[in-house]
Amino acid sequence: MKIYDLLSSLLWLVIGLAFLAGGVRMGLGPIHSPGAGYFPAVIGAILSLLSLGLFIKAALEKGPLSERHPFWKEADSWKKVSLVVGSLIFYMAFLEFLGYLATTVLFIFFLLKVVGKKSWPVSITMAVLVSLGSYALFKMALGVYLPKGLILG
């Protein structure tokens, strides 16, 4: 879609320029011994040029700025996705505080009950099963470190 290309190309342009600037600052070094900044600067420059090209290409395209297709496939998909993103952030924030078991139980429960709209018993059972099962698999069978926290761990 035209507007997507126009906007995103500007983003890449900025990123490319940022790497170019950063690379130059770090020092390009003599050509027979390129410095740390050489590669990022060159690739950053290429990215900037390409994104400029994309911008121009999109701008020259005939046709409407945005087409019929909405960003979200269904009107309220954004709610689902936002809730899942939220749950991931929750997990990140509380994993070391509450410990693996507790955080995982809450996480799975939330996704099944709130996002998936399953019933209380199903959500709770699955949450506990998955947490215990994964705990057994990762901690006991594979020896991976899982944080102990406030609750059991």
Partner: protein, 501 residues
């Protein structure tokens, strides 16, 4: 080592109990992934990478490889039974496979799909067995400039062969290269682009980025789709194809195997392309092309053979040169790197255990898969009935764990979430992630060799052209670049609309 000696050596390792176990786990998971729509081999590999931390590298690759070619077996099940491809490459199998099922011939279709997959899988392994060492020997001549040109050529190919806008694909490759510069400079040890965050000193973590870009973003995208699982009507009866089926399928299988194998070797291609090409070829050479699409066995046998020969081909550049040809191979490369092994021409000599045992295990895996996919088909069909709502939380959990456990750092989870969102937006805005991930993984190697080349040549760029092998790769890359740009001056290449728009 001679191929046969090496193979015997490999079998010795592959038959060890823990390797057999992990091979089985790999192909089992692969079959499941193949059967279940919504998760592909690349995502599954990403998820299981953390599981491989504690085990030996050869065992790890045996398992991960099993997932890859296993998925090529499993994908046909849903394609034939409910017209939904379980895995991208099986979309072609839907065309005739489902029609066969509707005619009551589901059993023959399923049976022939499994058999064709098995034949292609095992026969193509011989290609891998004999060609990989040859390639590796050839690559021993390689020095820094050759690697630079090879990687450049590979990245250009991957961007060129993608499905959407090539310009955007090149941009993603650049972005991947830039992401790879975050961290510590490989030659001088300087901190780069890490804004003083200690966690970034080793670079944006490979695993969190992969988990985010492939696993999490895929889930976000799938949340939007109404997950429709078609209802299966009849029982599957006779799994054994008829004599006529065998006759009709012989040449398609042979052609599919050869085609799939060689397509697999080329970077940037994948099994989807291989199976599509096989279908097109079969239709062209058939005496009754008009019957394609109505449910004939050639339309199943050929593509299924092609998509199973593909992985064997794809292993050649990885094992002999250290160059991944697609995202799944890139993840295998990542797994090797995590175990401290740098694949390249020296892999055969420095780690023969890995090289030969992986190939040997692929024979074993194919046998296991034949058993899994013929009699146990009914079981997989039952699994399909589990709704997505139960699956994706577990997948997300794996992603979270995987990201966290690498460095025991919460920061990595943040990276994963960030790239999950980025990946999702990329899908929406029609940018491909494969060039990005490939460039991200190959970036450091590319840069290091590039700088070394310039040191070798005292700053002259001519070194890349003066050395013949390097020149060839560069020429190829240049041709591809020119061909990409040409359409801009003629008709516009029809803009491939992203699936998510």
């Amino acid at each position: 080592m001679h191929a046969i000696d090496g193979l015997m050596y490999g079998f010795g390792i592959a038959f060890l109990p823990h390797n057999l176990l992990f091979c089985f786990i790999g192909v089992l998971v692969g079959t499941l992934i193949g059967v279940l729509p919504g998760l592909g081999p690349a995502g599954a590999l990403a998820l299981l990478l953390p599981v491989t931390f504690g085990i030996a590298p050869s065992t790890a690759i045996i398992m991960l490889a099993g997932i890859y070619y296993g998925a090529m077996y499993g994908g046909s099940t849903t394609s034939i039974l409910i017209n939904i491809p379980g895995e991208a490459a099986s979309v072609i199998t839907c065309l005739d496979g489902y029609q066969m099922a509707r005619k009551g011939r589901a059993g023959s279709a399923l049976g022939m799909a499994a058999i064709a997959s098995f034949i292609a899988g095992t026969v193509s392994l011989f290609g891998l067995l004999f060609l990989a060492p040859t390639f590796a020997n050839f690559a021993l001549e390689f020095s820094a400039p050759e690697f630079v040109s090879l990687i450049l050529c590979g990245l250009v190919l991957v961007s060129f062969l993608g499905s959407g806008s090539r310009l955007k694909a090149f941009m993603m490759a650049c972005m991947g290269l830039l992401l790879g510069t975050i961290g510590t400079d490989p030659i001088e040890g300087m901190d780069r682009f890490n804004f003083g965050i200690t966690y970034l000193m080793d670079g944006a973590g490979l695993i969190p980025v992969i988990m985010g870009l492939f696993g999490v973003s895929e889930i976000f995208a799938n949340l939007e789709e109404q997950q429709f699982r078609g209802i299966l009507k009849e029982k599957i009866k006779n799994l054994w194809p008829t004599l006529q089926d065998w006759q009709d399928s012989t040449w398609p299988i042979i052609r599919g195997t050869v085609l799939g194998f060689f397509v697999g070797v080329i970077p940037g291609t994948n099994t989807v392309i291989a199976s599509m090409m096989s279908y097109a070829v079969e239709k062209k050479v058939s005496k009754h092309p008009e019957k394609f699409g109505t449910g004939i066995i050639e339309g199943v046998a050929g593509p299924e053979a092609a998509n199973n020969a593909g992985p064997s081909g794809a292993f050649i550049p990885l094992l002999s040169l250290g160059i991944p040809t697609n995202a799944t191979m890139a993840l295998l490369l990542a797994s090797l790197m995590i175990h401290g092994i740098t694949p390249g021409p020296f892999l055969i000599t420095q780690s023969p255990d890995i090289f030969w045992s992986v190939i040997a295990s692929m024979y074993i895996g194919n046998l296991m898969l034949l058993a899994l996919n013929l009699p146990l088909v009914g079981l997989w069909v039952q699994v399909l009935k589990i709704p997505y709502t139960f699956f994706y939380p577990v997948i997300l959990l794996f992603c979270l764990l995987g990201s966290y456990c690498v460095g025991t750092a919460i920061f990595d989870i943040a990276v994963m979430i960030f790239f999950g969102i980025v990946g999702f937006l990329m899908k929406k805005f029609a940018y491909e992630s494969t060039p990005l991930i490939l460039a991200f993984i190959l970036g450091p190697m590319f840069e290091e060799n590039f700088r070394r080349s310039l040191v070798l040549s005292f700053g002259s760029f001519r070194i890349f052209i003066e050395r013949p092998i390097s020149a060839v790769f560069l020429a190829l890359a240049t041709i591809l670049l020119i061909v990409s740009v040409l359409p801009m001056f003629k008709k516009r290449r029809p803009a491939a609309r992203s699936k998510w728009n």
